[in-house]
Symmetry: C2
Subunit: 363 residues, 2 copies
């Protein structure tokens, strides 16, 4: 059973590793010769718009999926004429453009922060619509805090807008209490399962830590977040894993971003849930029954960013599970993660302290 | 970080898959071109006694280990002059010969069933020493019930002995109440950890099901089994995972076999223990700290032998985890396993019933 993955980063790598026990061999397509999934799975090194490579990639595959949202939708659509592409290429087209994404969410009645497109000829209009403080974001290719600027004054706003040549979006700055995310999965038959809400801590725009389940009380929030997921699943006839990043503000959830894929904030599911997000994504896109998303204990996931700690120092921490991606260290690059799995929230907080000695919060 | 594994079967495959998240790439050496570990890890296809291949295999490796005990000890010893081989090649030499194994265990005061070597010129002596009923076993290359004959009469005994040209051993037939196994691991620094006693059900000489922890009360047996492990670890200055198969007879433990490696009865540790036997073996042989061997809930592991059920029917069973080895179906061949992980012994027994509909006991 062969599955093709568009993109060969760590998400593709972990999908491939989840596939082998199920008898699934994943092949990744990625233009980077050193794409880290290529260390554990067959790797076709070619640009996403190389139709000859796409045709060869499709050959012998049961279906195609993607592991990052900046895959050209044209590539996914071209493949979808030949074999199933799951999730639908439409999700790529919608969620890789922050403006399209927000307009789509608003049209579905899913609450988002106030936003407006910035018209270069008339930048004041967005400013008036959204107000200050705000965030300017590029419409495309933003990730890990890249392509975002916090704006407190009109002067700052106009300077950034004049500097940038690419399409921009203005969004109200949200003084959130907590950042959360929810990961859901829908099978080909329409079965839906969600993992519990995850609490995320960012630093410098990059996810640093995830607590799963969240430390804050989410009993009233979980059904709300699951309704957002269900709405997106229904309207897109979605198959596979989908992630929603959320702000908690005044007891209310606002959607920050949607990722039509497995997500960094779900890495804890490898040890901390009955079935990992990676396995469930593969089961979903192959038309197989989903696995239980029930959490097993209390997890903390920490990203390893820019540099790697000594593996031995990590593995002395009780219940620490190390995941390295085989990438060359580079400032700001996600090189791996650690998951601590404990039976109680108290042990998890103790583990958090032990971990901070090894992985500094701003490391 | 590169590790070499002598042998490329499913145990090598699962070691390789456990290695990737830790930044370890395992390469397997196996003379079979279709060795199933080769689907997930680099595979050097060569006989174990090909010194040129062994030298190339050793190149760039941090250490060498083995995944089955019928590797020629000479190959392991030749490698051990060049780089660390863990566990010690001495363990191979001892445990691949059932006579040497039993003599070694007896010399350490570890209880074994009555046994005697069969001298072809004087077969009656073993018969007198051991008595009937008994089992005749080949001294070497027995596995999964192969090379074993149950003997009830002197006539049967003499017929088997005359038919066989290879060295034989006679062993008293043990009317055991339960078959158990224990898996322990010792680090390079001498740290020891054991998994809980596992209860095993065989059919046709092949392991069919493992219950972990065991269904029977093992509170008095666990320390006894751990002492056997500790004795072997000490006397062999052992590093890595070691497995002891045990008979429970009249409340007493007798050792049936020792395997100087990860073991089929430990596959449940992938989902059912904080750290799997595969990860702990790699951590041990690399001189890293061990991970917790604490069980998470109640597991049942079922081997998939000879033929494969439909993956979808397996995955409809709650908390079923499917592991396929990528091998061609063949009568009596281990093709994969299923682990059920539950929070209570009652749910596990319910799962056992659900599973039997998919995997018949004598399937």
């Amino acid at each position: 059973m062969r599955v093709g993955i568009l993109g060969g980063g760590q998400l593709g790598r972990m999908l491939a590793l989840a596939g082998y026990p199920l008898g699934i061999t994943c092949e990744v397509l990625d233009p980077a010769p050193d794409a880290c999934a290529g260390q554990v799975a067959p790797h076709r090194c070619a640009p996403f718009d190389d139709l000859h490579a796409l045709a060869a990639f499709a050959d012998g595959k049961r279906c195609i999926t993607y592991e990052f949202e900046n895959v050209p939708p044209q590539a996914a659509e071209w493949l979808a004429m030949r074999l199933p592409v799951r999730p639908t290429p439409r999700a790529l087209a919608i969620f890789q453009d922050r403006l399209t994404e927000r307009e789509f969410l608003r049209s579905l009645g899913i609450p988002v922060p106030a936003f407006a497109p910035i018209e270069p000829s008339e930048p004041e209009r967005a400013l008036q619509q959204v107000g200050l403080p705000a965030i300017i974001k590029t419409r495309r290719f933003g990730y890990d805090g890249k392509g975002q600027w916090r704006i407190d004054t009109e002067e700052q706003y106009l300077r950034i807008v004049r500097q940038q040549s690419q399409p921009l979006l203005m969004e109200a700055f949200v003084a959130f209490e907590t950042e959360l995310s929810i990961i859901g999965v829908r099978s080909l038959q329409g079965e839906v399962a969600c993992y519990p809400l995850i609490e995320n801590i960012h630093g410098g725009g990059i996810l640093r830590y995830s607590f799963a389940p969240a430390r804050v009380d989410t009993s009233r929030l979980q059904p709300v977040a699951e309704r957002f997921i269900a709405t997106l699943f229904d309207v897109l006839d979605y198959v596979g894993v989908l992630t929603i990043e959320l702000f908690l503000v005044g007891g209310r959830l606002l959607v920050n971003e949607v990722a039509p894929r497995v997500h960094n904030s779900g890495h804890w599911t490898i040890e901390g849930a009955e079935t990992s997000q990676f396995e469930n994504h593969l089961r979903a896109i192959l038309g197989w029954p989903l696995g239980s998303t029930t959490p097993r204990g209390y997890c903390l996931m920490a990203n390893l960013i820019g540099e790697l700690p000594d593996p031995q120092s990590v593995l002395t921490i009780p219940n620490a599970h190390l995941h390295l991606y085989g990438k060359q260290p580079h400032a700001g690059r996600k090189l791996g993660h650690i998951t601590l799995r404990h039976d109680t929230p108290e042990e998890r907080m103790q583990g958090f302290e032990q971990l901070q000695a090894v992985v500094p919060l701003q490391g």
